[in-house]
């Protein structure tokens, strides 16, 4: 790639697979469980986190030399909270419908441990451009898992994708339901997300044995 050096490209590509924030670092699990019952919510959450993490990483990186280390966590929190409020207010004014969909995610973004984790682990020690790439990469890695989990939970739990029925109508017994297939109600409750994430972790580690921790 001409635009990105190999090192830069790795900042985006690593978190997608071998250094995924959810499956390898096991961060951000709480929101992965809470909001993946449907695909649309997963996508919206992934985009919101990408915005906040990308921008937040840049801000923290610009401030990295002047932040007093004693209060750096508070400073990080303020940056996240401010970004989230700005996004929320702007959406409320210019895209009211979308802001209603997002409302519930606002609090979840602030508490997402991936964000604080990347501020602390990366942005405090790297320049703005690299921090930006790192933020985008990590939020993509987070988003990919969210979308995979959302896909399976919505498909198996409600028989829909993005709200569109893809398996037929469960009440009128058409499509797949005519053969006696039933939606699995378990998939729409949060514990199902743990199982799906667990399966993803298992698949990933059995494909790449280097990821298995030695004990």
């Amino acid at each position: 790639m001409a635009l990105l050096t190999k090192k830069d490209a790795n900042l985006i590509l690593d978190p997608l697979a071998d250094n995924n924030p959810i499956t390898i670092q096991v961060l951000g699990i709480c929101s992965a469980l809470a909001i993946t019952a449907e695909l649309k919510a997963s996508v919206v959450m992934a985009i919101s986190v990408m915005f906040v993490l990308g921008l937040g990483n840049v801000v923290i990186s610009l401030l990295r030399n002047i932040i007093p280390s004693k209060i750096r966590i508070i400073v990080q929190l303020i940056v996240v909270a401010t970004l989230v409020i700005i996004v929320d207010q702007v959406l409320k004014a210019f895209a009211y419908e979308l802001s209603k969909t997002l409302a519930v995610f606002v609090g979840l973004i602030i508490t997402n441990c991936i964000i604080m984790g990347r501020f602390e682990a990366f942005a405090l020690g790297n320049g703005p451009w690299r921090s930006f790439l790192d933020g985008i990469g990590n939020s993509l890695g987070y988003g990919v898992i969210l979308i995979i989990v959302g896909f399976f939970r919505e498909l198996l739990g409600s028989g829909t994708l993005f709200g569109f029925p893809v398996l037929g109508n469960p009440i009128e017994k058409t499509g797949l339901y005519a053969t006696g297939y039933e939606n699995n109600g378990f998939m729409i409750i949060p514990p199902a997300a743990l199982i799906v994430v667990g399966i993803i972790i298992w698949v990933q580690r059995s494909r790449n044995r280097a990821l298995i921790e030695e004990h």
């Binding site: 019952a37 002047i66 932040i67 280390s69 009211y96 939970r153 729409i188």
Partner: protein, 249 residues
């Protein structure tokens, strides 16, 4: 840079400056956008009220489609013929009744004061609708809505909204397949103001039985569903005296 970022003085100065900057940015933003946000909220209320009485742009049975925001003001004044404020025995006309904050009024009612309860009378194709606003508790946060009744107190339509119910579960109270079930149900059980119960283990999932005061619950959203039941029951009770006068007509 020769800054000593470890000194206490520096820390305090940094924190102060940061707070001032962030505070003024947010304050500026809030005041700059406040008018637009208020306007959006006003349109939304009008849209919701109209939606409950069947004035909407629904094309099929899948999605909620409101009257577009640029038309909603006209449509609202066209279909909503009267806006009442019920305060105890006293009933007054008030064109801005839809802006009353129901949450405050319900709190007043609980404290033993006489609440100012808004009620909207709509007319569409020669038929009268009595629209009651509702407010209650879901699992995480507030839920609210509007319920449109005809003069027999049969539900003509509802609109539910929520602040922070779980997406995919409780948040589905604002989906068509849940809201549409309410139409045709009566809030009366004989002469008792029973409301409508969101029932689990309902043996009527297609909701063909309309006189059982029950609709089928949402799987995985028990507490939100109970909140909806309670919200309808309480609102109906608050407006009971007025509803009696409609029935007597």
């Amino acid at each position: 840079m020769a800054l000593n970022t470890e000194k206490n003085v520096y820390t305090v100065v940094f924190a102060t400056i940061m707070v001032i900057i962030v505070g003024s940015v947010l304050a500026f933003l809030a005041s700059a956008l406040n008018d637009r946000i208020k306007e959006n909220e006003r349109f939304e209320k009008q849209q919701n009220i109209l939606y409950s009485m069947g004035v909407n742009e629904n094309v099929d049975e899948s999605n909620v489609n409101f009257v577009p925001t640029d038309k909603v003001e006209n449509e609202f004044s066209k279909y909503i013929t009267e806006q009442l404020v019920i305060s105890g025995e006293q009933i007054t006309n008030n064109d801005e009744a839809y802006l009353i904050d129901l949450k405050k009024q319900l709190a007043a009612a609980k404290a033993g004061e006489t609440p100012q309860l808004p009620l909207f009378i709509g007319e569409k194709d020669g038929k009268k609708f009595y629209i009651i606003p509702m407010y209650g508790k879901g699992l995480w946060d507030a839920i609210s809505g509007f319920i449109a009744l005809d003069s027999e107190l049969i539900v003509q339509g509802v609109y539910f909204d929520h602040k922070g119910e779980t997406p995919g579960l409780g948040a589905n109270i604002k989906q068509r397949y849940f809201m549409d079930d309410f139409a045709g149900e009566s809030i009366l059980d004989g002469t008792r103001y029973a409301g409508i119960k969101v029932a689990k283990g309902n043996n009527d999932p297609l909701n063909l039985i309309k006189d059982d005061n029950e609709v089928d619950a949402l799987a995985g959203a028990t507490i939100t569903g109970n909140g909806v039941s309670a919200m309808i029951r309480e609102s109906v009770h608050l407006y009971k005296d007025y509803l009696e006068t409609i029935r007597a007509q």
